[in-house]
Symmetry: C2
Subunit: 317 residues, 2 copies
């Protein structure tokens, strides 16, 4: 008899559910659009409906439990989502209990970026290391940290807020209201902001010929086609990322960085400047102690990590 | 029958050995001067002699083993000191094996600041928490990090290099050759440097009346006597320390910071500015999740932590 986990990923624009096998394979997946403005009740109803659709794909007695990846901050011990900035209007929502009551199964909850780190560690680009740091770069910058093969959660489940590492005291404004955080220096919106600034300064770039403000995807596409300005913008973002990595190397002494999220589709155009900056900014003893690789699971990292949470929590029971 | 650990602390100017009881009490302590320039052979001979003196204070069959606190970087798994910058002329020295051969007992080795963190966690100011960060501020800035009651060592035992967190990209030069690290902004030598600069700028301070360049101890003493400039220098160092703490809060979500080392003798004159800066620089959700307290074990933290390493390693055998 096979054992499966139902994994649910609650995003800002989509909700997804998947049936995941113990080896991390996604054997079935469904998704639905959502809008945070619908409010918690409507979104939770969608989640429950999707989870039931996924459940219908397997024999119920073969399902170990349900894992939920939700935007942080979350309290993983109580299974509560706590005023997530990416879900405006949400307060404290006891998501794990709501799903457990509706589905009649045990439910475990985690921060989505943390669970993506767990997924990459158990089944993705970090499978063979004990100490790994996952960084996801898209609209925001998030992450998860694996210490001795275990997810670092901290006292209240709020560890690994990598996007809000301050790097430049008077740097650009971050979404959180502080200045100079990694998220304000190397994220999709920061790339788009720097592209607009480059156009305003009259730098020679094909991005100026778009009939709309350039997006991060536009910057990556232009860089791939050889646009010098777009390449420079990615190199600068990568250099900031590398400085953050150097700091993390001094604190965690990891073996590997795994980089995911939309902006990481730029591949070595951003990762190679990050590697160079990281090696330049660490003390010599650390220079050859880590590598920097792209994520292996793509969009599935969150659901696969949520499933890993279920398998490991169930085993520990 | 009582069980004791022999703990040895290898510093840049002194070597110490102690007999430590399982409850963390130092029941006997001896010390000797040393100079790194003597070279590893002479220093190791001193350590062995001191450890034997300590051993003579107890029945040998009551001793569990020997713990050594050494300046980093160290490889705790192999028991090797690795080119420590504070011990010039040392390369890779297999300190644990050398002591084990001479003493005929099992020897465990750790980074001194890491072991001080372990000591403060097991027997000092961090006894009641699960997630703690220890920062020691003296000639250098070092630390140790407790995650879920365990010492964070990282892949190669080189984690928690807190002194070399970059805080200001083009900041003052650090002892390591990089710029703007915490150690260059809040350490004994950085306080002394800022005091000299204040005097050169003609700021009104009693420090200008000394017949020598002011030391960090002079700054602390002047601040205690109400000298405004000295108070401002401590407040600035504290603000840098607090910014580093804010970053650490976002990454580790600790319950407590424990601050030790010579400069921490300034007490709230440096800790209160640090608390204020830390709370100002964290995201609102973290503001009331941590406290900042002075270390509890003073100079004994290292030997007590080395003893804790022995008791726990022996138990795990």
């Amino acid at each position: 008899m096979d054992a499966y986990a139902i994994a649910v990923d609650l995003g800002g624009t989509h909700v997804r559910a998947a049936v995941v096998a113990p080896d991390g394979r996604v054997v079935h997946a469904v998704r639905d659009r959502t809008r945070a403005e619908e409010g918690p009740d409507a979104v939770v109803s969608r989640l429950i409906r999707l989870a039931r659709t996924a459940l219908a794909e397997c024999e119920r007695e073969n399902v170990v439990g349900v894992g939920v990846a939700a935007p942080g901050p979350v309290d993983p011990d109580r299974g509560v989502v706590m005023y997530p900035p990416n879900l405006p209007g949400w307060g404290e929502v006891p998501l794990a209990r709501l799903l457990a009551d509706a589905l009649g199964m045990p439910v475990w909850l985690g921060n989505d970026a943390n669970l993506a780190a767990l997924g990459e560690h158990r089944f993705g680009a970090g499978r063979d290391v004990h100490h790994m740091i996952y960084i996801t770069i898209s609209t925001g910058v998030g992450g998860g940290i694996i210490v001795n093969r275990r997810l670092l959660t901290g006292a209240l489940g709020m560890a690994a807020e990598i996007g809000h590492m301050p790097l430049i005291p008077e740097g650009p404004l971050c979404s959180c209201g502080h200045r100079g955080h990694l998220e304000a220096l190397a994220s999709g919106p920061s790339l788009a902001r720097e592209a607009r600034a480059a156009i305003e300064r009259g730098w020679p770039t094909c991005l100026a010929e778009l009939d709309r403000p350039p997006s991060a995807e536009d910057v990556v596409a232009a860089a791939r086609s050889g646009d010098r300005v777009a390449l420079e913008l990615l190199a600068r973002a990568g250099a900031h990322l590398g400085r953050a990595m150097a700091l993390l190397v001094h604190l965690f002494n990891p073996e590997r960085f795994v980089v995911g999220g939309g902006v990481s589709n730029a591949g070595d155009l951003i990762l190679e400047p990050a590697r160079r900056a990281a090696r330049r900014h660490v003390l010599p003893a650390y220079r050859h102690t880590f590598d920097v690789v792209p994520a292996g699971l793509g969009d599935n990292a969150g659901v696969v990590g949520a499933a890993a949470l279920v398998f490991e929590a169930a085993e520990a029971l």
